[in-house]
Protein backbone atom coordinates (compact mmCIF):
# COMPACT_ATOMS: atom_id res chain seq x y z
CA UNK A 1 0.00 0.00 0.00
CA UNK A 2 1.28 3.48 -0.87
CA UNK A 3 1.86 5.93 1.96
CA UNK A 4 -0.83 8.46 2.78
CA UNK A 5 -1.67 10.94 5.47
CA UNK A 6 -4.86 10.60 7.49
CA UNK A 7 -7.23 13.02 9.14
CA UNK A 8 -10.47 12.65 11.02
CA UNK A 9 -12.85 15.29 9.64
CA UNK A 10 -14.56 17.46 12.25
CA UNK A 11 -17.43 18.75 10.12
CA UNK A 12 -19.13 17.91 6.85
CA UNK A 13 -18.12 21.23 5.39
CA UNK A 14 -14.48 20.83 6.47
CA UNK A 15 -14.39 17.34 4.98
CA UNK A 16 -15.61 18.55 1.59
CA UNK A 17 -13.18 21.46 1.68
CA UNK A 18 -10.22 19.26 2.53
CA UNK A 19 -11.14 16.79 -0.18
CA UNK A 20 -11.16 19.49 -2.83
CA UNK A 21 -7.98 21.24 -1.67
CA UNK A 22 -5.61 18.30 -1.14
CA UNK A 23 -4.45 16.70 -4.40
CA UNK A 24 -5.16 12.96 -4.33
CA UNK A 25 -7.39 13.11 -1.24
CA UNK A 26 -10.21 10.61 -0.74
CA UNK A 27 -12.97 10.12 1.78
CA UNK A 28 -12.92 6.91 3.77
CA UNK A 29 -16.14 5.55 5.29
CA UNK A 30 -16.29 1.81 6.08
CA UNK A 31 -13.11 1.31 4.10
CA UNK A 32 -14.22 -2.14 2.91
CA UNK A 33 -13.85 -1.27 -0.76
CA UNK A 34 -11.26 1.51 -0.69
CA UNK A 35 -8.72 -0.36 1.47
CA UNK A 36 -9.16 -3.53 -0.56
CA UNK A 37 -8.24 -1.55 -3.69
CA UNK A 38 -5.44 0.36 -1.94
CA UNK A 39 -3.75 -2.88 -0.92
CA UNK A 40 -3.62 -3.81 -4.60
CA UNK A 41 -2.52 -0.26 -5.53
CA UNK A 42 -5.53 0.10 -7.79
CA UNK A 43 -6.39 3.11 -5.65
CA UNK A 44 -3.47 5.24 -4.43
CA UNK A 45 -4.80 8.19 -2.44
CA UNK A 46 -2.24 10.52 -0.86
CA UNK A 47 -4.58 11.64 1.91
CA UNK A 48 -7.57 10.01 3.60
CA UNK A 49 -10.39 12.00 5.16
CA UNK A 50 -12.27 9.88 7.67
CA UNK A 51 -15.96 10.86 7.58
CA UNK A 52 -17.12 8.40 10.24
CA UNK A 53 -17.64 10.85 13.06
CA UNK A 54 -19.79 13.58 11.51
CA UNK A 55 -23.22 12.57 12.76
CA UNK A 56 -24.24 11.31 9.31
CA UNK A 57 -25.35 7.98 10.75
CA UNK A 58 -29.02 8.79 11.30
CA UNK A 59 -32.19 7.86 9.44
CA UNK A 60 -34.77 10.65 9.58
CA UNK A 61 -38.29 11.11 8.28
CA UNK A 62 -38.68 13.79 5.61
CA UNK A 63 -41.55 16.31 5.44
CA UNK A 64 -42.65 14.55 2.22
CA UNK A 65 -43.23 11.31 4.13
CA UNK A 66 -40.06 9.58 2.99
CA UNK A 67 -36.78 8.77 4.69
CA UNK A 68 -33.45 10.53 4.65
CA UNK A 69 -30.66 7.99 5.17
CA UNK A 70 -27.37 9.48 6.36
CA UNK A 71 -24.39 8.56 4.17
CA UNK A 72 -22.67 6.85 7.10
CA UNK A 73 -25.58 4.63 8.11
CA UNK A 74 -24.19 1.09 8.12
CA UNK A 75 -25.74 -1.48 5.78
CA UNK A 76 -26.77 -3.62 8.80
CA UNK A 77 -28.55 -0.72 10.48
CA UNK A 78 -30.34 0.32 7.32
CA UNK A 79 -31.57 -3.21 6.66
CA UNK A 80 -32.77 -3.57 10.26
CA UNK A 81 -34.45 -0.16 10.58
CA UNK A 82 -38.11 -0.68 11.46
CA UNK A 83 -39.38 1.88 8.93
CA UNK A 84 -37.26 0.43 6.15
CA UNK A 85 -38.42 -3.12 6.91
CA UNK A 86 -42.05 -1.98 6.89
CA UNK A 87 -42.18 0.49 4.00
CA UNK A 88 -39.15 -0.27 1.84
CA UNK A 89 -38.69 -4.01 2.39
CA UNK A 90 -37.04 -4.39 -1.02
CA UNK A 91 -34.18 -2.28 0.31
CA UNK A 92 -33.77 -4.42 3.44
CA UNK A 93 -33.84 -7.53 1.26
CA UNK A 94 -31.25 -6.18 -1.17
CA UNK A 95 -28.93 -5.16 1.66
CA UNK A 96 -28.97 -8.50 3.42
CA UNK A 97 -28.35 -10.25 0.10
CA UNK A 98 -25.00 -8.46 -0.14
CA UNK A 99 -21.56 -9.29 1.25
CA UNK A 100 -21.37 -10.84 4.77
CA UNK A 101 -22.57 -9.94 8.26
CA UNK A 102 -19.15 -8.55 9.17
CA UNK A 103 -18.89 -6.45 6.03
CA UNK A 104 -22.42 -5.08 6.37
CA UNK A 105 -21.58 -3.95 9.90
CA UNK A 106 -18.88 -1.74 8.41
CA UNK A 107 -20.15 -0.84 4.93
CA UNK A 108 -21.96 2.47 4.64
CA UNK A 109 -24.73 3.84 2.45
CA UNK A 110 -22.44 6.27 0.61
CA UNK A 111 -19.58 3.80 0.25
CA UNK A 112 -21.89 1.09 -1.06
CA UNK A 113 -23.18 3.40 -3.81
CA UNK A 114 -19.59 4.21 -4.81
CA UNK A 115 -18.11 0.71 -4.62
CA UNK A 116 -16.20 -0.11 -7.76
CA UNK A 117 -16.67 -2.93 -10.23
CA UNK A 118 -15.67 -6.52 -9.53
CA UNK A 119 -14.40 -7.03 -13.07
CA UNK A 120 -11.48 -9.48 -12.60
CA UNK A 121 -9.27 -7.49 -15.01
CA UNK A 122 -9.87 -4.27 -13.12
CA UNK A 123 -8.55 -6.13 -10.06
CA UNK A 124 -5.47 -7.53 -11.82
CA UNK A 125 -2.92 -4.77 -12.30
CA UNK A 126 -0.97 -6.85 -14.85
CA UNK A 127 -3.92 -6.72 -17.22
CA UNK A 128 -5.08 -3.90 -19.50
CA UNK A 129 -8.13 -2.05 -18.20
CA UNK A 130 -9.55 1.21 -19.49
CA UNK A 131 -11.24 1.91 -16.20
CA UNK A 132 -8.13 1.48 -14.08
CA UNK A 133 -5.70 2.84 -16.66
CA UNK A 134 -7.51 4.86 -19.34
CA UNK A 135 -6.40 3.97 -22.86
CA UNK A 136 -4.76 0.66 -21.92
CA UNK A 137 -7.51 -1.43 -23.47
CA UNK A 138 -10.08 -3.82 -22.01
CA UNK A 139 -8.90 -7.24 -20.90
CA UNK A 140 -12.40 -8.49 -20.29
CA UNK A 141 -13.90 -8.01 -23.73
CA UNK A 142 -12.07 -11.05 -25.18
CA UNK A 143 -11.46 -12.65 -21.81
CA UNK A 144 -13.36 -14.08 -18.88
CA UNK A 145 -16.47 -11.95 -19.03
CA UNK A 146 -18.95 -14.29 -17.41
CA UNK A 147 -19.76 -11.96 -14.51
CA UNK A 148 -19.81 -8.75 -16.53
CA UNK A 149 -22.51 -6.44 -17.84
CA UNK A 150 -24.70 -6.82 -20.90
CA UNK A 151 -26.53 -3.49 -20.73
CA UNK A 152 -25.16 0.04 -20.93
CA UNK A 153 -21.75 -1.28 -21.97
CA UNK A 154 -19.40 0.37 -24.47
CA UNK A 155 -16.46 -0.56 -26.67
CA UNK A 156 -14.21 0.67 -23.89
CA UNK A 157 -15.69 -1.22 -20.92
CA UNK A 158 -18.24 -3.91 -20.08
CA UNK A 159 -17.89 -3.79 -16.27
CA UNK A 160 -20.94 -4.48 -14.12
CA UNK A 161 -22.07 -2.35 -11.21
CA UNK A 162 -21.75 -4.71 -8.25
CA UNK A 163 -24.07 -3.18 -5.65
CA UNK A 164 -27.26 -4.87 -4.46
CA UNK A 165 -28.36 -1.90 -2.34
CA UNK A 166 -28.18 0.50 -5.27
CA UNK A 167 -30.56 -1.68 -7.32
CA UNK A 168 -33.26 -1.33 -4.66
CA UNK A 169 -32.57 2.39 -4.37
CA UNK A 170 -32.93 2.72 -8.13
CA UNK A 171 -36.25 0.86 -7.96
CA UNK A 172 -37.47 3.24 -5.25
CA UNK A 173 -36.49 6.41 -7.19
CA UNK A 174 -34.10 7.58 -4.48
CA UNK A 175 -32.01 10.73 -4.65
CA UNK A 176 -28.38 11.22 -3.64
CA UNK A 177 -27.75 14.35 -1.55
CA UNK A 178 -24.31 15.94 -1.71
CA UNK A 179 -22.26 18.89 -0.54
CA UNK A 180 -19.25 20.41 -2.29
CA UNK A 181 -16.21 22.35 -1.10
CA UNK A 182 -18.08 25.66 -1.27
CA UNK A 183 -20.88 24.32 0.88
CA UNK A 184 -23.27 24.07 -2.08
CA UNK A 185 -25.70 21.16 -1.81
CA UNK A 186 -27.62 19.30 -4.49
CA UNK A 187 -29.87 16.32 -4.81
CA UNK A 188 -29.13 13.98 -7.71
CA UNK A 189 -31.79 11.49 -8.88
CA UNK A 190 -30.25 8.05 -8.60
CA UNK A 191 -31.12 7.40 -12.25
CA UNK A 192 -28.57 10.06 -13.21
CA UNK A 193 -26.05 9.47 -10.43
CA UNK A 194 -24.11 6.60 -12.01
CA UNK A 195 -22.65 7.19 -15.47
CA UNK A 196 -22.45 4.76 -18.37
CA UNK A 197 -18.87 3.97 -19.39
CA UNK A 198 -18.88 5.40 -22.94
CA UNK A 199 -15.33 6.46 -23.80
CA UNK A 200 -14.52 7.36 -20.20
CA UNK A 201 -15.11 4.29 -18.01
CA UNK A 202 -12.88 5.82 -15.33
CA UNK A 203 -15.70 8.34 -14.67
CA UNK A 204 -18.35 6.48 -12.74
CA UNK A 205 -20.64 9.06 -11.16
CA UNK A 206 -21.74 12.67 -11.49
CA UNK A 207 -19.78 13.62 -8.34
CA UNK A 208 -17.24 16.41 -8.81
CA UNK A 209 -13.81 16.15 -7.16
CA UNK A 210 -14.27 16.66 -3.43
CA UNK A 211 -18.06 16.44 -3.55
CA UNK A 212 -19.32 14.38 -0.65
CA UNK A 213 -22.46 12.30 -0.28
CA UNK A 214 -24.37 13.34 2.82
CA UNK A 215 -27.53 11.23 2.48
CA UNK A 216 -29.80 9.18 0.26
CA UNK A 217 -33.43 10.24 0.28
CA UNK A 218 -36.30 7.82 -0.30
CA UNK A 219 -39.62 9.22 -1.52
CA UNK A 220 -42.76 8.31 0.37
CA UNK A 221 -43.64 4.62 0.48
CA UNK A 222 -45.37 3.09 -2.56
CA UNK A 223 -46.86 0.01 -0.89
CA UNK A 224 -47.07 -3.27 -2.79
CA UNK A 225 -45.24 -6.55 -2.36
CA UNK A 226 -41.48 -6.04 -2.19
CA UNK A 227 -39.06 -8.69 -3.41
CA UNK A 228 -35.37 -8.97 -4.19
CA UNK A 229 -34.11 -12.09 -5.91
CA UNK A 230 -30.38 -12.60 -6.32
CA UNK A 231 -28.88 -15.36 -8.44
CA UNK A 232 -25.21 -16.13 -7.83
CA UNK A 233 -22.63 -18.89 -7.88
CA UNK A 234 -22.86 -19.49 -4.11
CA UNK A 235 -25.91 -19.31 -1.89
CA UNK A 236 -24.33 -16.50 0.13
CA UNK A 237 -21.31 -14.14 0.24
CA UNK A 238 -21.08 -13.75 -3.52
CA UNK A 239 -21.89 -11.00 -6.00
CA UNK A 240 -24.94 -11.26 -8.25
CA UNK A 241 -24.88 -12.80 -11.68
CA UNK A 242 -28.40 -11.46 -12.04
CA UNK A 243 -30.61 -9.80 -9.48
CA UNK A 244 -34.12 -8.45 -9.74
CA UNK A 245 -35.71 -5.96 -7.38
CA UNK A 246 -39.46 -5.68 -7.81
CA UNK A 247 -42.55 -4.17 -6.27
CA UNK A 248 -45.82 -5.82 -7.30
CA UNK A 249 -49.07 -3.87 -6.96
CA UNK A 250 -52.44 -5.53 -6.30
CA UNK A 251 -53.76 -4.43 -9.71
CA UNK A 252 -51.15 -6.33 -11.73
CA UNK A 253 -48.84 -3.36 -12.15
CA UNK A 254 -45.23 -3.70 -11.09
CA UNK A 255 -41.87 -2.04 -11.27
CA UNK A 256 -38.49 -3.70 -11.77
CA UNK A 257 -34.81 -2.90 -11.40
CA UNK A 258 -31.91 -5.21 -12.23
CA UNK A 259 -28.46 -5.90 -10.84
CA UNK A 260 -25.52 -7.87 -12.20
CA UNK A 261 -26.40 -7.12 -15.82
CA UNK A 262 -25.92 -3.36 -16.12
CA UNK A 263 -23.01 -0.95 -16.22
CA UNK A 264 -25.14 0.78 -13.59
CA UNK A 265 -28.21 -0.27 -11.60
CA UNK A 266 -30.65 -0.97 -14.44
CA UNK A 267 -34.23 0.21 -14.79
CA UNK A 268 -36.32 0.64 -17.94
CA UNK A 269 -39.77 2.27 -18.09
CA UNK A 270 -40.86 -0.13 -20.85
CA UNK A 271 -40.23 -3.11 -18.56
CA UNK A 272 -42.56 -1.68 -15.91
CA UNK A 273 -45.14 -0.98 -18.62
CA UNK A 274 -45.00 -4.62 -19.73
CA UNK A 275 -45.73 -5.92 -16.21
CA UNK A 276 -49.24 -7.17 -17.02
CA UNK A 277 -47.98 -9.14 -20.02
CA UNK A 278 -45.82 -11.37 -17.86
CA UNK A 279 -42.16 -12.22 -17.35
CA UNK A 280 -41.23 -12.84 -21.00
CA UNK A 281 -42.45 -9.41 -22.07
CA UNK A 282 -40.78 -7.72 -19.09
CA UNK A 283 -37.48 -9.44 -19.84
CA UNK A 284 -37.67 -8.51 -23.50
CA UNK A 285 -38.27 -4.86 -22.66
CA UNK A 286 -35.56 -4.77 -20.01
CA UNK A 287 -33.01 -6.43 -22.27
CA UNK A 288 -33.52 -4.13 -25.25
CA UNK A 289 -30.09 -3.20 -26.57
CA UNK A 290 -28.31 -5.96 -24.65
CA UNK A 291 -24.81 -6.68 -25.91
CA UNK A 292 -23.44 -9.98 -24.72
CA UNK A 293 -20.21 -11.92 -25.00
CA UNK A 294 -19.82 -15.64 -25.50
CA UNK A 295 -19.37 -15.97 -21.73
CA UNK A 296 -22.22 -13.86 -20.42
CA UNK A 297 -24.93 -14.46 -23.02
CA UNK A 298 -26.61 -16.79 -20.47
CA UNK A 299 -27.64 -13.77 -18.43
CA UNK A 300 -30.47 -12.97 -20.88
CA UNK A 301 -32.21 -16.26 -20.23
CA UNK A 302 -31.40 -16.01 -16.55
CA UNK A 303 -33.17 -12.62 -16.35
CA UNK A 304 -36.28 -14.08 -17.92
CA UNK A 305 -36.28 -17.12 -15.67
CA UNK A 306 -35.66 -15.08 -12.54
CA UNK A 307 -38.64 -12.90 -13.46
CA UNK A 308 -40.75 -15.98 -14.16
CA UNK A 309 -39.89 -17.31 -10.73
CA UNK A 310 -40.91 -14.03 -9.11
CA UNK A 311 -44.22 -14.03 -10.99
CA UNK A 312 -44.96 -17.58 -9.87
CA UNK A 313 -44.18 -16.63 -6.29
CA UNK A 314 -46.56 -13.67 -6.55
CA UNK A 315 -49.33 -15.86 -7.99
CA UNK A 316 -48.87 -18.35 -5.18
CA UNK A 317 -49.24 -15.57 -2.62
CA UNK A 318 -52.31 -14.03 -4.25
Amino acid sequence: MKSFTYERATSVQAAAKAAASVQGARFIAGGTNLLDLMKLQIETPTHLIDVNHLGLDRIEETPEGGLRIGALVRNTDLAADKRVRRDYAVLSRALVAGASGQLRNKATTGGNLLQRTRCPYFYDTRMPCNKRQPGSGCGAMQGMSRSLAILGVSDACIAQHPSDMAVAMRLLDSAVDTIDANGATRSIPIADFHLLPGDTPQRETLLKPGEMITAVTLPKPIGGAHVYRKVRDRASYAFALVSVAAVFGKDGTARFAFGGIGAKPWRVAAADAAAKQGPKAVAEAALTGARTTHHNDFKKLLVERTLASLYRQQEARA
Binding site: L48, R85, Y121, Y237
Partner: protein
Protein backbone atom coordinates in the same frame (compact mmCIF):
# COMPACT_ATOMS: atom_id res chain seq x y z
CA UNK B 1 3.50 -22.13 -8.77
CA UNK B 2 4.92 -25.64 -8.39
CA UNK B 3 3.22 -27.68 -5.74
CA UNK B 4 6.36 -28.23 -3.65
CA UNK B 5 6.79 -24.46 -3.33
CA UNK B 6 3.36 -24.19 -1.73
CA UNK B 7 3.56 -22.71 1.70
CA UNK B 8 0.74 -22.74 4.17
CA UNK B 9 0.25 -19.02 3.61
CA UNK B 10 0.20 -19.20 -0.19
CA UNK B 11 -2.20 -22.11 0.06
CA UNK B 12 -4.51 -20.06 2.19
CA UNK B 13 -4.25 -17.13 -0.17
CA UNK B 14 -4.96 -19.36 -3.12
CA UNK B 15 -8.00 -20.78 -1.43
CA UNK B 16 -9.21 -17.32 -0.55
CA UNK B 17 -9.11 -16.49 -4.23
CA UNK B 18 -11.12 -19.57 -5.08
CA UNK B 19 -13.61 -18.76 -2.37
CA UNK B 20 -13.76 -15.14 -3.37
CA UNK B 21 -16.93 -13.33 -4.20
CA UNK B 22 -15.02 -11.48 -6.90
CA UNK B 23 -12.72 -13.57 -8.99
CA UNK B 24 -9.27 -12.03 -8.78
CA UNK B 25 -6.86 -13.41 -11.35
CA UNK B 26 -3.74 -12.94 -9.26
CA UNK B 27 -3.27 -14.14 -5.73
CA UNK B 28 -3.64 -11.00 -3.68
CA UNK B 29 -0.53 -9.91 -1.89
CA UNK B 30 -0.91 -10.00 1.85
CA UNK B 31 2.09 -7.90 2.73
CA UNK B 32 1.71 -5.93 5.91
CA UNK B 33 3.57 -2.67 6.30
CA UNK B 34 6.37 -3.48 8.70
CA UNK B 35 6.17 -1.55 11.94
CA UNK B 36 8.72 1.09 10.96
CA UNK B 37 8.42 1.38 7.17
CA UNK B 38 7.37 4.44 5.21
CA UNK B 39 8.45 8.01 5.34
CA UNK B 40 5.10 9.33 6.54
CA UNK B 41 4.63 10.41 10.12
CA UNK B 42 3.48 7.89 12.70
CA UNK B 43 0.17 8.53 14.37
CA UNK B 44 -0.84 7.92 17.97
CA UNK B 45 -3.63 5.37 18.38
CA UNK B 46 -5.32 4.54 21.65
CA UNK B 47 -7.39 1.38 21.87
CA UNK B 48 -9.03 -0.64 24.61
CA UNK B 49 -8.19 -4.20 23.63
CA UNK B 50 -9.70 -7.00 25.69
CA UNK B 51 -10.21 -4.58 28.55
CA UNK B 52 -6.65 -3.25 28.47
CA UNK B 53 -5.86 0.29 27.33
CA UNK B 54 -3.02 0.39 24.81
CA UNK B 55 -1.13 3.27 23.24
CA UNK B 56 0.48 2.75 19.87
CA UNK B 57 2.42 4.83 17.35
CA UNK B 58 1.41 3.55 13.94
CA UNK B 59 1.97 4.12 10.25
CA UNK B 60 -1.53 5.13 9.12
CA UNK B 61 -1.43 2.20 6.67
CA UNK B 62 -1.53 -0.32 9.52
CA UNK B 63 -4.71 -2.36 9.40
CA UNK B 64 -6.43 -3.12 12.67
CA UNK B 65 -5.47 -6.75 12.04
CA UNK B 66 -1.76 -5.93 11.78
CA UNK B 67 -1.96 -3.66 14.82
CA UNK B 68 -3.35 -6.58 16.82
CA UNK B 69 -0.97 -9.21 15.50
CA UNK B 70 2.29 -7.38 14.79
CA UNK B 71 2.19 -4.61 17.37
CA UNK B 72 0.17 -6.04 20.26
CA UNK B 73 1.27 -9.64 19.56
CA UNK B 74 -2.28 -10.87 19.86
CA UNK B 75 -1.83 -13.57 17.25
CA UNK B 76 -5.10 -15.35 17.95
CA UNK B 77 -6.75 -13.27 15.23
CA UNK B 78 -5.69 -14.71 11.88
CA UNK B 79 -4.86 -13.32 8.46
CA UNK B 80 -6.33 -15.47 5.73
CA UNK B 81 -6.91 -13.37 2.63
CA UNK B 82 -6.36 -9.80 3.88
CA UNK B 83 -9.22 -8.74 1.52
CA UNK B 84 -12.49 -9.31 3.34
CA UNK B 85 -13.07 -12.63 1.64
CA UNK B 86 -12.57 -15.23 4.38
CA UNK B 87 -13.49 -13.92 7.84
CA UNK B 88 -10.38 -15.31 9.62
CA UNK B 89 -9.65 -11.78 10.90
CA UNK B 90 -13.09 -11.23 12.48
CA UNK B 91 -12.97 -9.28 15.75
CA UNK B 92 -15.59 -7.40 17.74
CA UNK B 93 -15.24 -3.61 17.70
CA UNK B 94 -17.59 -1.49 19.77
CA UNK B 95 -19.79 -4.57 20.17
CA UNK B 96 -20.02 -5.47 16.48
CA UNK B 97 -18.10 -8.04 14.45
CA UNK B 98 -16.03 -6.69 11.58
CA UNK B 99 -13.20 -7.84 9.31
CA UNK B 100 -10.10 -6.34 10.93
CA UNK B 101 -8.14 -6.63 7.67
CA UNK B 102 -10.31 -4.08 5.86
CA UNK B 103 -10.05 -1.28 8.37
CA UNK B 104 -7.24 0.96 9.56
CA UNK B 105 -6.19 1.00 13.19
CA UNK B 106 -6.22 4.82 13.16
CA UNK B 107 -9.91 4.72 12.25
CA UNK B 108 -10.57 3.07 15.62
CA UNK B 109 -8.70 5.47 17.87
CA UNK B 110 -10.59 5.59 21.17
CA UNK B 111 -12.60 2.44 20.50
CA UNK B 112 -12.99 -0.92 22.21
CA UNK B 113 -11.81 -4.15 20.56
CA UNK B 114 -12.46 -7.73 21.65
CA UNK B 115 -10.42 -10.54 20.13
CA UNK B 116 -10.50 -14.29 20.72
CA UNK B 117 -8.02 -13.75 23.58
CA UNK B 118 -10.51 -11.41 25.25
CA UNK B 119 -13.58 -13.62 24.98
CA UNK B 120 -12.14 -16.19 27.37
CA UNK B 121 -8.93 -17.73 28.60
CA UNK B 122 -7.82 -21.38 28.68
CA UNK B 123 -8.76 -21.39 32.37
CA UNK B 124 -12.06 -19.58 31.94
CA UNK B 125 -13.39 -20.33 28.47
CA UNK B 126 -16.22 -18.37 26.91
CA UNK B 127 -19.28 -20.68 26.46
CA UNK B 128 -18.78 -20.49 22.69
CA UNK B 129 -15.13 -21.53 22.99
CA UNK B 130 -16.17 -24.43 25.19
CA UNK B 131 -18.91 -25.46 22.77
CA UNK B 132 -16.48 -25.44 19.83
CA UNK B 133 -14.28 -27.88 21.75
CA UNK B 134 -17.19 -30.09 22.81
CA UNK B 135 -18.65 -30.23 19.29
CA UNK B 136 -15.34 -30.48 17.46
CA UNK B 137 -16.01 -27.22 15.63
CA UNK B 138 -12.61 -27.11 13.92
CA UNK B 139 -9.83 -29.21 12.47
CA UNK B 140 -6.71 -27.16 11.68
CA UNK B 141 -8.08 -24.29 13.77
CA UNK B 142 -6.94 -21.49 11.50
CA UNK B 143 -10.39 -20.03 10.90
CA UNK B 144 -11.57 -20.76 14.45
CA UNK B 145 -10.88 -17.44 16.23
CA UNK B 146 -12.83 -15.65 13.50
CA UNK B 147 -15.57 -18.27 13.58
CA UNK B 148 -15.97 -17.90 17.35
CA UNK B 149 -16.04 -14.09 17.28
CA UNK B 150 -18.66 -14.29 14.53
CA UNK B 151 -20.66 -16.98 16.30
CA UNK B 152 -20.89 -14.91 19.49
CA UNK B 153 -22.02 -11.87 17.49
CA UNK B 154 -24.49 -13.83 15.37
CA UNK B 155 -26.47 -14.94 18.42
CA UNK B 156 -26.59 -11.30 19.55
CA UNK B 157 -27.67 -10.13 16.09
CA UNK B 158 -30.53 -12.66 16.06
CA UNK B 159 -31.57 -11.57 19.56
CA UNK B 160 -31.53 -7.95 18.36
CA UNK B 161 -33.93 -8.82 15.53
CA UNK B 162 -31.51 -8.00 12.70
CA UNK B 163 -32.84 -9.79 9.61
CA UNK B 164 -30.77 -11.95 7.26
CA UNK B 165 -31.08 -13.08 3.66
CA UNK B 166 -33.04 -16.19 4.71
CA UNK B 167 -35.40 -14.45 7.16
CA UNK B 168 -38.93 -15.14 5.88
CA UNK B 169 -40.70 -12.39 7.81
CA UNK B 170 -38.48 -9.34 8.31
CA UNK B 171 -40.33 -8.56 11.55
CA UNK B 172 -39.92 -12.03 13.04
CA UNK B 173 -36.30 -13.04 13.29
CA UNK B 174 -35.89 -16.48 14.86
CA UNK B 175 -33.12 -19.00 15.15
CA UNK B 176 -32.86 -21.88 12.70
CA UNK B 177 -30.03 -23.85 11.09
CA UNK B 178 -30.66 -21.93 7.86
CA UNK B 179 -30.30 -18.64 9.73
CA UNK B 180 -27.07 -19.74 11.40
CA UNK B 181 -25.57 -20.97 8.15
CA UNK B 182 -26.46 -17.80 6.26
CA UNK B 183 -25.18 -15.51 9.01
CA UNK B 184 -21.91 -17.46 9.29
CA UNK B 185 -21.28 -17.36 5.52
CA UNK B 186 -18.67 -14.63 5.98
CA UNK B 187 -16.40 -17.14 7.73
CA UNK B 188 -14.88 -19.64 5.35
CA UNK B 189 -13.51 -22.92 6.74
CA UNK B 190 -11.23 -24.88 4.43
CA UNK B 191 -11.57 -27.89 6.72
CA UNK B 192 -15.34 -27.68 6.37
CA UNK B 193 -16.13 -27.87 10.07
CA UNK B 194 -19.43 -26.17 9.28
CA UNK B 195 -21.92 -28.72 10.68
CA UNK B 196 -20.09 -28.88 14.00
CA UNK B 197 -19.89 -25.08 14.21
CA UNK B 198 -23.67 -24.95 13.82
CA UNK B 199 -24.02 -27.59 16.55
CA UNK B 200 -21.81 -25.53 18.87
CA UNK B 201 -23.86 -22.40 18.24
CA UNK B 202 -27.12 -24.25 18.88
CA UNK B 203 -25.68 -25.56 22.11
CA UNK B 204 -24.77 -22.05 23.34
CA UNK B 205 -28.14 -20.74 22.20
CA UNK B 206 -29.87 -23.51 24.19
CA UNK B 207 -27.83 -22.67 27.31
CA UNK B 208 -28.95 -19.06 27.06
CA UNK B 209 -32.55 -20.24 27.47
CA UNK B 210 -33.61 -18.04 24.58
CA UNK B 211 -37.02 -18.57 23.04
CA UNK B 212 -38.53 -18.39 19.59
CA UNK B 213 -36.56 -21.12 17.93
CA UNK B 214 -37.73 -22.50 14.63
CA UNK B 215 -36.77 -25.94 13.39
Amino acid sequence: MSSDSLTRRSLLQGSAVIATAAPTLSAASATAPSPNSGAKAMMPVELTVNGREVHLQLDPRTSLLDALREHLHLTGTKKGCDHGQCGACTVIVEGRRINSCLTLAVMHDGETVTTIEGLGTPEALHPMQKAFIVHDGYQCGYCTPGQICSAVSVLEEIAAGIPSHVTQDLDDVALSDAELRERMSGNICRCAAYPNIIAAMRDVYGQSGAKGEKA
